[in-house]
């Protein structure tokens, strides 16, 4: 994982995130004045925009946006800023997977990048959320790191798992997005593998913040 926060200058928070060949940049501005139609009377409204590396946004990007929203909404301390807006923009620089078939690597990268950009912007968060991708290949092996496009193409099932991080440990499951053939046993195995991944990512992020603060 490679993280660089505060990468952009005109927005309040930003994060350039890359994992293997997936590379995404996210920006956060807020709390700012919303347009009247976006305003929520008691909470911070969120606007998420995701733009693909090539071409124009399609239904595929809208699906990703909605999934990111379901993860971000529960972790924001949104009652702290009623009638305000938090604007999140994501730009994929390199998808690292065949875009017509998969979106799992991008989804995990987008979620992590968004959370780190939110931390950078100072928008209040109750918890962190960290995402990871797990593949079960045709030989029933669980692959949890260095996932490439070829591994994805050889999948029996592919899963994106997002955990909430509470007190430096993964606690609640925020999202599990699975495609392919799998049974109950597989799900349990996937959850176990993802937890250790998430722990690892959380540890690296904490070290990154620590080193940034001590400068």
């Amino acid at each position: 994982m490679n993280v660089q926060t505060g990468y952009l200058q005109n927005v309040d928070g930003s994060c350039l995130y890359s994992l293997n060949s997936t590379k995404v940049i996210s920006s956060v501005t807020g709390p700012i004045e919303p347009k009247p139609r976006q305003e929520l009377p008691t909470q911070l409204a969120i606007e998420i925009n995701l733009r693909p590396a090539t071409g124009v946004p399609t239904t595929r990007e809208i699906t990703l946006q909605d999934k990111i929203r379901t993860v971000i909404t529960p972790i924001l301390a949104s009652y702290k800023f009623p009638r305000q807006l938090c604007q999140i923009t994501l730009q994929l620089l390199q998808s690292g997977e065949t875009e017509s078939l998969f979106n799992q690597l991008e989804l995990a990268a987008c979620i992590n990048s968004t959370v780190f950009a939110l931390v950078d912007s100072g928008v209040p968060l109750k918890n962190l959320a960290i995402a990871t991708t797990i593949v079960i290949d045709s030989n029933n092996n669980i692959i949890h790191e260095n996932i490439t496009d070829d591994i994805l193409k050889n999948n029996k099932s592919v899963h994106v798992i997002v955990y909430q991080i509470e007190n430096n440990k993964p606690s609640n499951l925020l999202l599990m997005d699975s495609h392919g053939d799998f049974d109950e046993q597989d799900v349990l195995k996937v959850l176990e593998a993802s937890e250790s991944n998430v722990r690892q990512l959380n540890k690296s992020f904490r070290e990154y913040i620590q080193s940034k603060l001590s400068n």
Binding site: Q9, N10, K23
Partner: protein, 306 residues
């Protein structure tokens, strides 16, 4: 259009006063173009341009499609320049109808596509049936002025860097060879247009149609965001290394005379020359990095190249 950046009277007065005394906030001279930083991504045709704090990313994608009926011998080439709130909250998501946004995409379109920088006839595969469609996706990441100049460099770098998969035509059948199987082929670039933007200020608040002695307008190259917000006129000159003027774009603002225009073109030419050389040099370095065998297989003699 989303809300604008607010700039106070004191600030605008100060910036103008400083310009009058020959100072710019970022310690550049009036004719100084910011240093251009070119970074290539992992994939071909993936370029990030940094000019000061301005950041523009460009990525080329290609596909095979049918040509337009009235142009059977030509391929397709699009440039998409959509701004998003990432470059700053002044840009609205999904709304590119603002005057600035439209101007930026029109100028780039004219500079690169309409000037014939890309050989679109070379994209034809089977006349009237199949051709390549090349798409340049420009992403504005961070805005500190000079979007036109930076995106033009980004698009040209990405086009020069990109290589499309090799193909074989057998009658009606087209075989696309994967990159691992056959070396991909670069695009045909006919010339490299470079945009240079001049901003005009009128600190004395006097306007003259015929420039006389009291003409005190200030001309600066490659304005930063604050300078862009305050300028009263703008001129974009697009040139290439062959001393050809590709485009002169001036949409309103302060009037200017022929002499100033000539002077601007001359200044722009020397900038164009340096940037073109820089682009070609960095593309060459990157190509060599990617191709380990080129040095061994090259038949080029060791000789002085100017």
């Amino acid at each position: 259009m989303a809300k604008d950046i607010e700039i106070s009277t004191s600030e605008s007065k100060f910036i103008l006063e400083a310009l009058k005394q020959n100072y710019r906030l970022d310690n550049r001279t009036f004719d100084q173009f910011r240093d251009v930083k070119i970074q290539f991504g992992e994939e071909l045709g993936d370029v990030l341009i940094e000019m000061g704090k301005t950041k523009v990313h460009c990525k080329i994608s290609s596909s095979i499609t049918e040509p337009y009926e009235d142009r059977p011998f030509e391929g397709l080439f699009f440039i998409s320049t959509e701004s998003s709130a990432m470059a700053g909250p002044q840009f609205e998501n999904g709304n590119n109808t603002g005057e600035d946004e439209v101007l930026i995409s029109r100028i780039i379109e004219k500079a690169v596509r309409r000037s014939g920088a890309l050989d679109i006839e070379g994209l034809c595969i089977v006349a009237g049936r199949k051709c390549w469609a090349i798409r340049a996706n420009v992403h504005f990441l961070d805005c500190d002025g000079g979007f036109v100049d930076a995106s033009c460099i980004a698009v040209m770098c990405a086009l020069l860097h990109y290589k499309k998969p090799d193909i074989t035509v057998r009658g009606e059948k087209i075989i696309v060879h994967p990159v691992e199987e056959r070396e991909p082929v670069p695009l045909g670039i006919l010339h490299i247009p470079i945009c240079v933007t001049f901003s005009f200020f009128n600190p004395m608040d006097m306007e003259e149609n015929v420039k006389g002695e009291s003409n005190s307008e200030i001309v600066i190259i490659d304005a930063s965001l604050k300078e862009e917000l305050l300028r009263e006129g703008v001129l974009t000159v697009t040139l290439n290394k062959n001393r050809e003027v590709v485009q002169v774009s001036k949409a309103g603002g302060l009037p200017m005379d022929a002499l100033t225009l000539m002077e601007c073109c001359h200044k722009a030419y020397s900038i164009t020359e340096t940037i073109t050389n820089q682009i070609l040099k960095e593309i060459k370095i990157d190509n060599e990095k990617r191709d380990k065998y080129s040095a061994i297989l090259s038949s080029e003699n060791a000789r002085e190249t100017s």
